[in-house]
């Protein structure tokens, strides 16, 4: 029985997890600052075509989104399998676009209205007829700045 008996070093000391919340909070704040809330839930298929001569669409608050494409499989029973337009979270007709643009404009400050851009997020499989109809509606309400939203890639891939 010696007084200076060595302690057994068999058990490893537990790693302190006290700083884990700090790390996670840091990640959380990064994501809160760097990202934007998803605006719409897509009810249509939306495989955008490829292009490489593109410009970035910054200032998200100045963009109005018009989606078009075939209804996704979940909505096919109720909405049919022809290409449809989606505005906000609803399927819409071509004639609803004017009201949509006017409502979007009314929600913006007056001095920003000339800078509003309409982003057309149209599925690659859609016919040009529908796109043409959208364009003529936009012309009638003087929403002349548009953006054909695309994915970055080689345009030749569109033909496959």
């Amino acid at each position: 029985m010696s007084k200076f008996k060595k302690k057994k070093s068999g058990e490893l000391p537990a790693i302190s997890t006290a700083s884990l919340p700090d790390i996670v909070f840091m990640l959380l704040f990064f994501f809160m600052v760097a990202t934007v809330m998803r605006q719409n839930t897509l009810m249509i298929e939306n495989k955008l075509p490829y292009a490489d001569q593109i410009e970035k669409l910054d200032k998200k608050d100045l963009v109005m989104y018009i989606y078009a494409g075939k209804p996704s499989s979940r909505y096919r029973a109720s909405a049919g399998d022809q290409a449809r337009i989606q505005l906000n979270d609803k399927f819409a007709e071509v004639s609803d676009i004017k009201a949509f643009i006017l409502a979007e404009r009314a929600a913006k400050r007056e001095e920003l209205i000339p800078f509003l851009t309409t982003a057309l997020k149209v599925d690659g499989e859609t016919n040009m007829g529908l796109v043409g109809d959208i364009k003529s509606e936009l012309r009638e309400v003087q929403a002349l700045k548009i953006n054909y939203t695309t994915r970055t890639g080689n345009a030749v891939d569109n033909l496959r």
Binding site: T17, M32, R38, L144, K145, N147
Partner: protein
């Protein structure tokens, strides 16, 4: 003394709460910003009356319902379109006030006078695929970008794409006003004139 140390709160579940919030934000937000081809639609007033474009200044591109490409009356593959468009825009066949000093084309009298007069008309059928339409648009804009890059390189030693990149770059140290003037000059040399129309069947 009755004062005891305050009991410490167990912070073990703090991480769980933070993770929950983090995952919520990961799911509901998007990090990627959209990009695409910017276009300006013509105003609804019918201004076409009175404007007259000579046939030689018009480059006709048509897409039919089977996604076939016809350029100036003949079938063509997409890969050849850019070259053909560049040849048309850069032709510079005009003389007198229409003379184009910076064009390096063939100076063919049956093709465009100068890039300012040259108009590309893109007609598509109602049945054309949107993806094909975008591919063709992309090639046509690519032709303009090629020519603009060439002229910017010649005049300012920097391509047009670089100029535009600098304009958006907040860390750019040069003169912004000067940069804008340069970009405007290049745009005026090769103004983008692409008319989109519907093909009548």
């Amino acid at each position: 003394m009755n004062r005891r140390l305050a009991p410490s709160v167990n912070a073990g579940s703090m991480a769980d709460i933070a993770f929950l919030l983090l995952i919520f934000f990961l799911v509901t937000t998007t990090i990627q910003s959209d990009s695409g081809i910017n276009k300006k639609l013509p105003p609804p007033l019918n201004l076409e009356r009175g404007t007259f474009i000579k046939k030689k200044n018009l480059f006709e591109v048509e897409l039919n319902r089977y996604n076939q490409l016809m350029v100036e009356g003949e079938l063509m593959e997409l890969s050849d379109l850019k070259e053909k468009a560049i040849a048309f825009l850069d032709n510079g066949g005009g003389s007198g006030i229409d003379y184009c000093g910076y064009c390096k084309g063939d100076k063919d009298l049956t093709s465009s006078d100068n890039p300012d007069k040259a108009v590309i008309s893109l007609k598509s059928s109602r049945k054309t695929n949107y993806a094909t339409f975008i591919a063709v648009q992309n090639e046509l804009i690519g032709a303009y970008t090629f020519l603009r890059n060439r002229e910017a390189k010649r005049l300012f030693g920097k391509t047009y794409s670089d100029l535009e990149y600098d304009l958006k770059d907040v860390n750019y140290l040069g003169n912004q006003a000067n940069l804008k003037k340069r970009i405007r000059k290049i745009r005026a040399m090769y103004p983008q004139k692409i008319v989109e129309a519907e093909l009548l069947e």
